[in-house]
Subunit: 315 residues, 2 copies
Amino acid sequence: MKEVVVGIDIGGTNTKFGIAALDGKLLFKSSCPTNSDKPISNLFKKILIDIKKYQNEFKITGIGIGAPNANYFTGYIEAPPNLGWGTVDVKKEMGKLISCPVALTNDANAGALGELIFGNGKGINDFIFITLGTGLGSGLIVDGKLVYGHDGFAGEIGHVIVKENGRQCGCGRKGCLETYVSAPGLKRTAYEILSDLNIESSLNKIPYEKVTAKDIYKAAVAGDKIAILTFEKTGEILGKALANSVAYLSPKAIFLFGGLVEAGDLLFKPVIKHMNENMLNIMKNKTKVLPSGLKEGSAAVLGAAALIITELNKK
Amino acid sequence: MKEVVVGIDIGGTNTKFGIAALDGKLLFKSSCPTNSDKPISNLFKKILIDIKKYQNEFKITGIGIGAPNANYFTGYIEAPPNLGWGTVDVKKEMGKLISCPVALTNDANAGALGELIFGNGKGINDFIFITLGTGLGSGLIVDGKLVYGHDGFAGEIGHVIVKENGRQCGCGRKGCLETYVSAPGLKRTAYEILSDLNIESSLNKIPYEKVTAKDIYKAAVAGDKIAILTFEKTGEILGKALANSVAYLSPKAIFLFGGLVEAGDLLFKPVIKHMNENMLNIMKNKTKVLPSGLKEGSAAVLGAAALIITELNKK
């Protein structure tokens, strides 16, 4: 029977899950509401009903789980603000329902492992994976392995403070990178520039709460000055932050993942320019900034699958 | 015959070297002028004459070298500003004179390995080693190993830019951490505060070029307000920078090494306070900031020895 793994990506609203072959081919994919107002066992039972339909075809050798504030070492999810479970022993809860190895980490770390095993990070021993969405998540690959740190929480580049007394962050502090570089960060920058320049822009015609990163992208492509400046500023802030990341880790590549990456050169050009301009001489122009090789729709599940495949390969 | 290693620390002015047992005991220690206006082979020949006096007592199993801009992967020193050799193939030059394994890296990386094997980092898998002297050097230990990055130059926390358009750094850029946190950085901060507050201070009585970090320390201990504020500000800047370091790597400990560390609580208290105040909630109060376990006089040679011992243990 073909050996496979299960990947589960728990999000605040929806949970994606699927069955992946060991070469990263997705054999089955689905999703369901997370419903974190009910016990996590309800969610897991629902997922396993779907998964077990395939148990005559595939041998499930392990389950990988990506989730916010997930701790690789303890197997707990530690009270993330967008999930109602508080702190919960995920490994134990899953272990009550199915007998196979289970591993978990946060979604960005899982994404980094997905990039390493199935994406553009194949064969690259040192890279940084950055996911740009409602926040900025990151996973660090050093010497071919994911960096967990002593407590499982390493790789929080989104919460590096890039500006003292800067923008209010959801984490309670001010000036975190993700308040500038993320989908909401892009929008905040657009309105900062709008309020500064006070000129015509297609963004003026949409209420603040309805403006999306996509609107800003479309406006930029159509030549809207505010939107173009917004991408330049966002790229500048990310580029400068990445110059500092390179001072720490000197990675061969930095992979960007997520909706914002579709902006292409609008984002990448200023990122690369400002990164190299702000880099230490001996490091300049060595680190590539590249789009992730993972596909938006399958990355989360594949990342979780990559996590458990990595664990199984350790044994 | 007892197996030993040789540790060499090449500095801009002087080079320290010695013979170390595999348990970190220094069996012989010396130093000589670096004279980088002459070929590096002259320096190595001089060192080896001293070392070879012991060849009837000890079996030399390898040589570790710490030097500025030293590249672990290539074996080259890459044109550091304070050495006149330009880019030089150190491993090859040493290999012409003695037949044994040779490894090199920069002095701060070597220090981190010294801390890991012989210092307070024993048994700690994830820590950051920071050396505060004329600059700020650092070495990162992740999962029990030194982080080299893809090109051998990882761990340059001293050149993380902490303030946009900040102080002029010797590297040509502005606002690098080491322009604030180092012996010269301390002095620059003292004069910044002096020029701001324009009040009485014992530092007013010494010409700028003669003021040392030690003077500022002594003044602070004697209750001088400017000197006390200088340590507070320096600790604040380092503490905030370390909060960001923890967001990257979530280390169990951060070890501080070098002359400034003798200031004790004057430095450590504000560092620890501001680090924890600026840390992401899930990381707060977990990472310790501690003095290095290495002794000022022997650390450089022991670090270089630790490097080659690490290499020999890989085989």
